[in-house]
């Protein structure tokens, strides 16, 4: 039963998987191309009824990695979707229309990591003040914490 969801997911997105990692029977990390994001999120959240935990971003040498954490609570499985966006063309489709709960976190990632979320319903700043410089993104690796 518990593995059915994972099998279904694997079957559905088989061709789209760039990398599949089963860290433990409870944790799955799946890398997909950014073009397929909305379709896969729709499948996991709307059709399979996973709970959306949160989205987050990491500045890596290869580009900005965006992570989408989902949980199948009653099955005790967590699925993390990973999408890589390049720093040159740092934009990705917003999932806030599918999941209203992603609204805030996408605004936060946009200002802290400089990722543009296309078709976001409310692309204002969330945490940084209005007079913070436009092109300075505090969570990028080149910004050092001031000790």
């Amino acid at each position: 039963m518990a593995n059915d969801v994972i099998k279904k997911l694997k079957g559905k997105i088989e061709k789209k998987i760039l990398h599949w990692e089963e860290k433990s029977p409870k944790r799955y990390y799946i890398t997909i191309p950014k073009e397929d994001l909305l379709e896969v999120v729709e499948f996991i959240f709307v059709q399979q009824k996973a709970r959306f935990i949160i989205e987050s971003g990491i500045d890596t040498p290869r580009g900005i990695e965006i992570l989408y954490h989902f949980s199948f609570d009653r099955l005790n499985k967590m699925v993390t979707l990973k999408v890589l966006v390049s720093k040159e063309k740092c934009e990705i489709e917003s999932i806030s229309k599918l999941i209203p709960g992603a609204n805030w976190i996408e605004r936060e990632i946009a200002e802290l990591l400089g990722v543009t979320f296309l078709n976001h319903p409310d692309p204002r700043r969330l945490l940084l003040s209005e007079d913070w410089p436009r092109k300075e993104y505090p969570l990028r690796q080149k910004v050092k914490e001031n000790k």
Binding site: K23, N76, P100, G101, W104, L127, W132, E145
Partner: protein, 400 residues
Amino acid sequence: MRDKTVIPIGPFHPLQEEPEFFELIVEGEKVVDVDVHIGYNHRGIEKIAESKTFDQMVFLVERICGICSTSHPIANCNAVEDIAGIEIPERAKYIRSIVGELERLHSHLLWLGLAGHFIGYNTLWMWAWKYREPILDLFEAITGNRNHYAMMKPGGVRRDIKEEDIASLLKGLNEAEKKIGMLTRAALDDPVLAARLKGIGILSKEDAIAYGAVGPTARASGVSIDVRRDDPYAAYGLVEWQVITQETGDVLAKTVVRLLECFESIKIIRQCLKKLHAVKGEIATKVREIPPGEGIGHHEAPRGETFHYVRSDGSNTPVRLKVRAPTYVNLPTCKVTVPGENVADATLILASIDPCYCCTERVTTINKKTGRRELRGEDLLRLCRKKTEKIKKKLGKLNG
């Protein structure tokens, strides 16, 4: 069409005493829309974590919040242990659960008191906070601190509970149970409370799922999620207890869930304390190094699931720490719970999720050239005036 007015609550909340700013857009007495502005106290903890070692990081995340100050460390340790595949000793598991559940007790009582205070029912406030005090005393006996317990570390806990202390802890717990029982019966029987709390600020099951709500906010709307049951960590899989849910989704349901959860917490603590008689041994596994990889840890904090994601590159500091506090997903539900309600109820509905803003925001602006904090008293005054001007202009626009 009638004129719309903006009622500002904040940027410093007069009751919750935390920096947040609600814009209530009202037509007469009725709220038609609400907008939340946060970020007044963003401290950049996720950034600071990148320069701390794994051991130091636990102390850092403990400072995210003063009320759920053990929830972040538990979630963080779970995440680090998930990366390295560390299994903690059984005795440490019981101690973790004891501290985690005591925190739920004191936090739920704190909320109940605040909720009473919000609706002008100060008797409830004083009762709840009076009975919260002995819980803090229990904390002091176990951890040495009333708050910021510094009990967790990757691999286990830092302090043991002494055999000779268990009897007095159980006694304190029994006392607390009696008092909370009395308070619960009084609160749930009270016609004044029922009149103010019943049927207001309803969060439907669908909306709770769409917004990803967690904790008592979700459980009061019939969404049965609880990390302690769904992904058992610490001792939650080793003791008997139940997940409390309600169906109506109003403020009363959230109150009932929190009050009944107190008794489940007491049940858990009692079982754990008794097990400590039999389960002896180490309280921490030695953790030598954290291998490269990523890990997810979560903990059911009093307000809901606290989520930590940690990535390691094999060095002694993490590459990235992502913290998602429960209020971050619970607060946006006000978009659906507040509109349609009276102004007088709005403050209570906004408080019904038991919001914690210091958890939700984690940056302080530092001037890079001087290394000083950028906001001083006069700056705050200037910003405050600027904001008032802005609101005035907006009001003019709406009314004009």
